[in-house]
Amino acid sequence: MLLALILIPLLAALAILGGTPARLTAIIASLANILVATVALSCPACANGFSLQVLADPQIHLSLGLSGISAVMLILSVIVTLTAVYSGKCPEGREKLWFSSTLFIAAGAIGAFLSTDVFFFYAFHELALIPTFLMIGILGRGDRKEAAWKITIYLAFGSIVLLAGLLLATNHLGSFAFEDLAAIPAEDQNTVALLLIIGFGTLVSLFPLHSWAAPAYASAPTPVAMLHAGVMKKFGLYGLLVIGMKVAPQGMLHWLPWICVLLLGNIIWVGLVTINQKRLDLMLGNSSVMHMGYIFLAIAALAANPDNSIALPAAVLLMFAHGISIALLFSLTSVVENKTGTLEISQLGGLAKTAPALAFLFGLAGMASIGLPGLANFAGEVMVFFAGFADWSPSDGLGWVQITTIIALWGVVISAVYMLRAYRNSFQGPLVKSTENASDIHYCEKIPAYVLAVTLLVVGIYPQIILQFL
């Protein structure tokens, strides 16, 4: 059954290339995926794992399984896939490329999260590479060609560094299966941890390897931006949590000071860059890079103290919440662009007068991104900050993680600044030329937005619904 979750989008994508009606096939495939995922998650006995040996020496299996964190990531993937298929405006005559690429990227993401074998975990992520390259390069906007090259070469470089780290680790372990992951000999842990941090870090846009992310998300067509910022980015964090922590715990501890400094780079430096942005899409792209810092903080807390019981749930919850909120924001941004023809904040204004529903939804998403209580991101962020100080008493003195947490709290202020300012300048205030004739959000575009908004509210009020899987 788990194989169906990957095969459905894959076969649908091939069918679209073969000539079936693109939009319809994509919608059916994503709805089918949600159905199968619901069944798989509610009935663990039915969701039997799947294993096919593809190589004898070393033993590599195409094996799929549903564990705690991967269940949450699966929910994230299928929800964002459904909404991505509904979002954005496909240019005339390019439906084939648009929808098949979206489904290929979705298949890659789901495959990566469901894999219980290190090799296919890595390989499925790469499935998204070429569709992303083509989508951004052909159907993107703005500086699309440069953005497409940047994301592809950066991700390729990150992947190959990651591969070296994974090979070094599996060389010691002798097996590629997740269940065999254990700490490797101490003298190699530092190297493996470094390679994994650089490799996964590039994929997650850790400072200073982050410059590919914002232009790529800004130039990408909406479904690609939603899938990449919302789902694909979490792959690197998932990898660090599941593989990095198990294989090289002392190594991660060794590099803790560096992780702390770099994640502060994400939060503070990139946060300040975000405040400086003049376009909505670039602001969102940079904000998504900034928020990765919080999740890295949870990972740092876990690295400093592997018995930290709050850090892992915090990271997973924030990954989920951020994925949903950024997908919602990108989806609504594309609506704004369709209605007004521009994303320059200086050229927008008073959109709430002509598009009240859009303004409400965007406000909800923006508040979620800032971390307003009642919405999912708050639950995640507050848990991350608590994790920084978990099992801490004043007599311990302030360690790296504690100081980092204190400084990271300013990130909340920073995100409030840029988000509220952008919202005020775009939606409130007097009407301007570009917004006076805008129509409100269309019924079809409301569907993805409401799905995501409701998810944010439900998880925000009752986070246990997600945390129950861990």
């Binding site: 004898a56 070393p58 790469e126 390729a156 070296a164």
Partner: protein, 477 residues
């Protein structure tokens, strides 16, 4: 029936073809199809050996060995030759234009017969276990290639490529023979199977031996395209007829690597010479990787880009040879065959239609023929090493071998840079196909042979990308 009969059958078949060609009139490309059919029969003989005797006779044992690895490389050789012949059949328009003074194709008949001889030589190289028989087989292959490279005699590029290949090839042959002489002088025999015992005894002059090995490495480095003997590759690959470029790129390289592995194995195993040989090979690998990848970045001609990329791939393969993991090298070469031939089939077709090898000729191919563009995209993705294609597994095994052998981190970083660079120049072609507008709107028609072959190759690349075990089973692992 002894296994070495197969090479004799191949040579006999080639001679028969030549005679048939001399007396046949009409469409010469039928000979190509006939040759391919005959080689397919030989391929069948290789894949399913008849149960009757397969013992090499005692008098042949010194020169010829039949084992799983040898048979694997023979399959690579025969498969490459079949694909080259099929490509040549579809390439006949260009061949005819540059061969005779009219477009009748009257002088092109031999073009379909020569690969059969080269194939026999490649097959013998796969089984050779004595330095002398290696040399004889190598010469058969090389001399046939001299003729094939310069075949389009009314094309200046082809002639220039032929002359360059001839002169540099003759030079490398000189190095080879000189190296054989020094090794013979040091060890007292040319029989490779005796080397490991002699090296253990230790009664040889180490400097003579190392000098001989160095000369051999130079000669074999020329064959596989390793720095610093790689200068001939871009010009010869670009000038030669496209099917022959593909043949050089795959079969000649594979045979070269097999010979390198056969000769170098006893020296890598023995303590006396291991360190020197391994270090030299690793340095060559690093330099080859850097040269091939960095030079390919600026190329605008697809054929020349493929030439530089083949140098880059040789760099990866040299890492595998240096670490002693010969299985990874063989696997890489098998997948390299699939990816390279797919790319060359598309190139040959575009060259026939557009009369140009430049990357601009591929502009807008995504619109003109989506299936062709998809096949080339898969091929480029495989060459770049994107997972879920066969090409990734090759690089995976080589990286694994390098890490297990604990090679210097400098080489690993060079390999990182190479892969990243590779992504750029391979995707440059994908970009041209999909991002740029076509120069003319006319759709490209794909001949039936090319269509079928591309379908099979693309499917193989994708299937092996998920399930590589069958290739390893063929190797006997």
């Amino acid at each position: 029936m002894s296994p070495h009969i197969i090479e004799f059958i191949t040579v006999g078949f080639g001679l028969l073809l030549l005679m048939f060609e001399a007396f046949s009139k009409g469409n010469k490309s039928r000979i190509g199809l006939l040759a391919a059919a005959g080689l397919a029969v030989i391929l069948g003989m290789l894949l399913c050996p008849a149960p009757c005797c397969y013992e090499v006779p005692a008098w042949m044992e010194r020169f010829y060995d039949d084992n799983a690895v040898a048979r694997f490389y023979k399959i690579i050789a025969v498969l490459s030759t079949i694909l080259v012949l099929l490509m040549a059949v579809d390439f006949r328009k260009v061949l005819a234009k540059f061969s005779a003074s009219d477009d009748s194709g009257s002088g092109t008949g031999e073009f379909y017969c020569l690969p059969v001889f080269a194939c026999a030589g490649l097959m013998w190289m796969a089984s050779a276990t004595d330095l002398v028989s290696i040399f004889v087989a190598l010469e058969l292959v090389t001399i046939t290639f001299y003729v094939m490279v310069a075949f389009m005699r009314r094309n200046v590029g082809s002639l220039e490529a032929g002359v360059k290949y001839l002169i540099l090839g003759a030079l490398s042959t000189g190095f080879l023979v000189y190296g054989i002489a020094w090794i013979y002088g040091a060890l007292g025999t040319t029989d490779i199977s005796l080397f490991s015992n002699l090296l253990e005894e230790g009664t040889f002059n180490r400097s003579y031996l190392l000098f001989g090995i160095a000369l051999m490495l130079i000669a074999l480095g020329f064959k596989v395209g390793a720095v610093p003997m790689q200068l001939w590759i871009p010009d010869v690959y670009q000038g030669a007829p496209t099917p022959i470029t593909a043949y050089l790129s795959v079969a000649s390289k594979a045979a070269g690597f097999l010979v390198l592995m056969t000769i170098i194995k006893p020296f890598l195993d023995s303590e006396a010479t291991r360190h020197a040989v391994m270090c030299t090979l690793l340095i060559m690998a690093g330099a080859t990787l850097l040269y091939g990848n960095l030079a390919a970045i600026s190329q605008n001609n697809f054929k020349r880009l493929l030439a530089y990329s083949s140098i880059a791939h040789a760099g990866f393969l040299l890492i595998g040879v240096a670490t002693g993991d010969f299985t990874s090298v063989s696997f890489y070469l098998a997948t390299y065959l699939l990816m390279t031939f797919a790319a060359f089939f598309v190139l040959a077709l575009v060259r026939s239609e557009e009369e140009s090898d430049e990357i601009d000729a591929f502009d807008g191919l995504g619109k003109r023929n989506p299936v062709l563009a998809f096949a080339l995209t898969i091929s480029m993705a495989a060459l770049a090493g994107i997972p879920l294609t066969a090409g990734f597994w090759g690089k995976f095994f080589i990286f694994k071998a390098a890490i297990a052998a604990e090679v210097s981190w400098v080489l690993i970083v060079i390999a990182f840079i190479s892969v990243a660079a590779g992504f750029y120049y391979y995707l440059k072609v994908v970009k041209a196909m999909y991002w740029n507008a076509p120069r003319q709107e006319k759709a490209i028609a794909v001949p039936i042979i090319t269509k079928v072959v591309l379908l099979v190759l693309t499917a193989a690349i994708l299937i092996l990308g998920i399930y590589p075990q069958p290739v390893l089973d063929l190797l006997g692992k």
